[in-house]
Amino acid sequence: MSMTRYAGGFSTAKSTMPFGNYTHPDPTDQHLYENDFNAYVAGDWTITVVGTSTPALVAGDGGILGITTSASSGDSAFLQKTIGSFTFETGKPAWFAARFKVSTLATTAVIGLQVIDTTPLDVTDGIYFLSTTATGAVTGIVRKNATTGSSSAAVGTLVADTYTELAWYWDGKDTVSFFQDKVGKGSISGVAAGFLPDTTCTVSFGVQTDSANARTMSVDYIIAAKSRR
């Protein structure tokens, strides 16, 4: 396959704008958070643990953060980036993708953008993915104030000890689309004011063991972005 080269660069900005002659797309187009977990600083996170757990980098290709619960049923470990920095608005699309795996399906895993809260499995606001223990079925959830609006869609299935990428896209109008491994799996549409989170959210993920065994969530990467345009 041949490669198309733009030796002079390419831009998303008008020539009269500050980044108009920058040789890459305007870096201010989006608020972007991305973490490939080549590094991990615990102090960057609000970590809620039931039992004991010390999230840490683990050896493996791609940069991996390992989160292992302790071994009582219901023990859990959740990480939320300190502090909240994503809000949702009409007119401003947003994106999220994460690649991860869980050691077995006797777990409940959550990943996405959520309000900072000690109960990420049942949080009041966010756009996120929640797995079902035993089956690994994944649900995409869009939730505002828990009771004001909470919509969900079946997204796919986790396979034990197998990496998968879950992603969502808010189109800035009325629809959140969900993907697993680059394939569209479902969507939620409606009046934005009725279901779009209205609280500042943050990157959030974690795992709860649903049996008396330690369980591990391994996270390869997380990307979250929101248009500034």
Partner: protein
Amino acid sequence: MLINISDADKSGKRTLTVTDGDTKLYSGPVDNTAAGQKLANVGLKHGWDSDEFKAATKPSAKK
């Protein structure tokens, strides 16, 4: 920040401990995991030195 709810002791009680780096922000018993999560949410929302959190940690507030 680490919000830790310990495993239950022999009496079923758990301990909520909140630390920020080397600084301990709070440590005290809670009746169960849900109570610890609820109490910690008050601290997250209002601050660990707030009147709201202090009120929530009073014994009468746990009833």
